[in-house]
């Protein structure tokens, strides 16, 4: 479970995130929706301990992201915006490295790697060096290594960015599967249809602030609009970021 309370952060004079509050419960998919530059990635980066909040707090399974960073890191699987792989290592070696950094070893680790290879349908590339992989293949490796320790909270920054239609569909199936496993899934997207199709809860962010929160259904009711698209436009106050 992820609890965010009045989180703020600025870079120089730019207020990137202001007073953001929301809760992402276990067994649900929460989408952070907003146009480019709205502060989604910055919010996520504070949740996964990379950036320190200027004020406010965030807790993951009860652990504070600033004071118990290591405990938080044990409980999250992150697909960051930066998702570079080690090109001279094979898929399996890339995943194994992260597993070992999570104190996993031996058959437990190898079985988990095999399970992920099957789950993400990447047995064919398991023992190839990742140099020259397609965007979709690279993404799969990045996701597999992020989830190797079977975390209860999954944070995905724009997981479908740059993917073709088939890969996007597979990615969405995968996110739904994570929910079935009872995980708390939080992902960011600037694509409204995607959020509408997947999310149990939507947090709309614009200019670093939360402008609306709720289920897709309740958002339509809050804004008095028929379609989610209109509700989105009403919530962020402009049409930017619509696709």
């Amino acid at each position: 479970m992820i609890e965010v309370q009045s989180l703020s952060r600025s870079f120089g004079k730019v207020q990137a995130v202001q007073n953001v509050t929301f809760t992402a419960p276990d067994g649900q998919i929460t989408g952070l929706l907003g146009p480019n530059g709205a502060g989604k990635s910055t919010t996520l980066r504070m949740l996964y301990t990379l950036l320190k909040p200027a004020s406010g707090s965030a807790r993951i399974d009860g652990f504070d992201v600033t004071t118990s960073a290591i405990e938080v890191q044990r409980r999250i699987g992150v697909l960051a915006d930066a998702r570079g792989l080690y090109e001279r290592l094979t898929t399996r070696e890339n995943i194994r490295y992260y597993g070992r950094l999570h104190d996993m070893e031996g058959p437990e680790l190898e079985n988990q790697i095999d399970r992920l290879l099957v789950l993400l349908d990447m047995q064919a590339i398991a023992d190839r060096k990742t140099e020259g992989f397609s965007t979709g293949e690279k993404l799969k490796v990045a996701i597999a290594r992020a989830l190797v320790h079977n975390p209860s909270n999954v944070l995905l920054d724009e997981p479908t960015n740059g993917l073709d239609v088939m890969s996007t569909r597979a990615m969405r199936q995968f996110i739904l599967r994570l929910r079935e496993e009872g995980k708390c899934v939080l992902f960011t997207s600037h694509i409204m249809q995607e959020v509408a199709a997947l999310c149990d809860q939507v947090v709309i962010i614009a200019h670093g602030r939360v402008t609306a929160t709720g289920t897709p259904q309740s958002l339509r009711e809050q804004t008095g609009k028929e379609s989610l698209e209109d509700a989105f436009v009403a919530a962020i106050g402009s049409e930017e970021g619509l696709e």
Binding site: L50, L51, I70, V78, A80, D81, A82, G84, L101
Partner: protein, 391 residues
């Protein structure tokens, strides 16, 4: 803790070993020193041997004016050649090192018992010619003294009257001390090789990782960032040690297989024992080289930027060694307080088979290790800062 640091080390070793282009470049630098020194010794050895023992060709203009002098020169192993048409131009062009001009007035002046003038054309900035020039000057002076004393004797005066003092030279340097200058560059090559062995690995592990955008996800794993920095630094150490070994074996092989004694007439102390001692003395420098370069790689943004700094980083600590070649110093305790400088002085002492003070070794080792540890802490600080990821 050790276990997780080892996970980092193991991965970096595997990753970097597969990047064989980078580390083979590093190896080249390890061989660079021995090859260059070997080449220089070969060239120098040949010149020294030729110059000191062989006959010297001396172009002479107007040889017919002084048959007596020419005979004297020839009996002193000079081979008299006809002079080029324009002696000055030939010396400037480097066709000949030196030309002796005997003016037409010479026979007359000589017969009259006056001071007859000769001209010697040479370029004093041409180092390689100095051996020739000195030899000819000495011969001419010897001839002058010889003839002078004959003249005095003919006039019934003892030649000792004009010889007020006689200087007997005692040069404590070996005749081939020039070779020692080159030998003094050895510490420079050794330190440089250590830095160059570590630099491709460190560049790749920190700046490279950032550039490939794999550093951010790596730092989200549950371990203190200091361990990541430490692991990356340690992973470069074997490469630096291997470079050090290759360089030392290279120098060892050169002194073993090149006929140095025959060429330079001196024995160079590079036994297996002194090689081992030099290796041990340099181990703290391995730590220092890895620490310094990790700090630099952690605040540079790209491998390209790191690549512009790191070669200089290796150069600066090795420079004192180069200076040592030309400004020999007496080892003092304060010099041991400067990392790399102390080691270079100690290496030099080993090469010259001088007695080594144990306290100098201990001080230089401890200071270098403490300094390296402090620099490592600085690298860890850089890693802990947000800036390492967001730039």
């Amino acid at each position: 803790m050790m276990k997780k640091i080892w996970v980092i080390v193991e991965k970096e070793l595997l990753d970097n070993l597969r990047d064989y282009r980078s580390w083979t470049t590093g190896l080249f630098w390890a061989l660079f020193g021995p090859l260059m020194l070997g080449g220089m010794i070969m060239i120098l050895g040949n010149t020294v041997r030729d110059k000191v023992y062989g006959g010297l060709h001396l172009p002479v203009q107007g040889a017919e004016n002084a048959p007596n002098l020419i005979t004297f020169l020839e009996t002193h192993e000079m081979i008299i050649d006809p002079a080029p048409v324009d002696p000055q131009a030939a010396v400037i062009a480097g066709d000949v090192n030196v030309v002796l001009i005997i003016p037409p007035a010479y026979p007359e002046e000589f017969s009259a018992g006056k001071t007859a003038s000769l001209q010697l054309v040479f370029d004093s900035t041409r180092q390689t010619a100095m051996v020739d020039i000195q030899r000819i000057k000495l011969l001419l002076e010897e001839y002058s003294r010889y003839m002078g004393s004959l003249r005095l004797a003919m006039r019934g005066v003892s030649p000792e009257v004009i010889r007020v003092v006689q200087v007997q030279e005692q040069d404590t340097a070996t005749p081939q001390s020039q070779a020692l200058v080159f030998l003094s560059m050895l510490p420079y090559f050794i330190i440089f090789a250590i830095f160059n062995g570590a630099s491709p690995i460190i560049t790749d592990a920190t700046a490279g990782e950032r550039e490939r955008r794999s550093l951010e996800p790596l730092l989200l794993n549950p371990l203190p960032r200091g361990w990541v920095a430490t692991g990356k630094m340690i992973s470069a150490m074997p490469f630096a040690v291997i470079n050090l070994l290759i360089t030392l074996f290279g120098f060892g092989a050169i002194f073993e297989f090149l006929p140095i004694e025959e060429m330079l007439g001196m024995k160079i102390g590079l036994s297996l024992g002194s090689l081992t001692a030099i290796f041990l003395i340099c181990l703290p420098v391995v730590f220092l080289a890895c620490a310094i370069q990790t700090v630099i790689a952690s605040f540079t943004r790209t491998t390209k930027e790191a690549g512009t700094y790191l070669p200089f980083v290796g150069l600066i600590p090795s420079l004192p060694g180069l200076a040592l070649a030309f400004l020999p110093v007496k080892p003092a305790l304060w010099m041991m307080l400067i990392p790399t400088f102390g080691q270079q002085i100690l290496i030099n002492q080993f090469l010259r088979s001088e007695p080594i003070s144990a306290s100098n070794v201990v001080v230089s080792t401890i200071v270098t290790l403490v300094m390296s540890a402090l620099i490592t802490l600085a690298a860890i600080r850089f890693y802990e800062h947000e800036r390492i990821v967001i730039g």
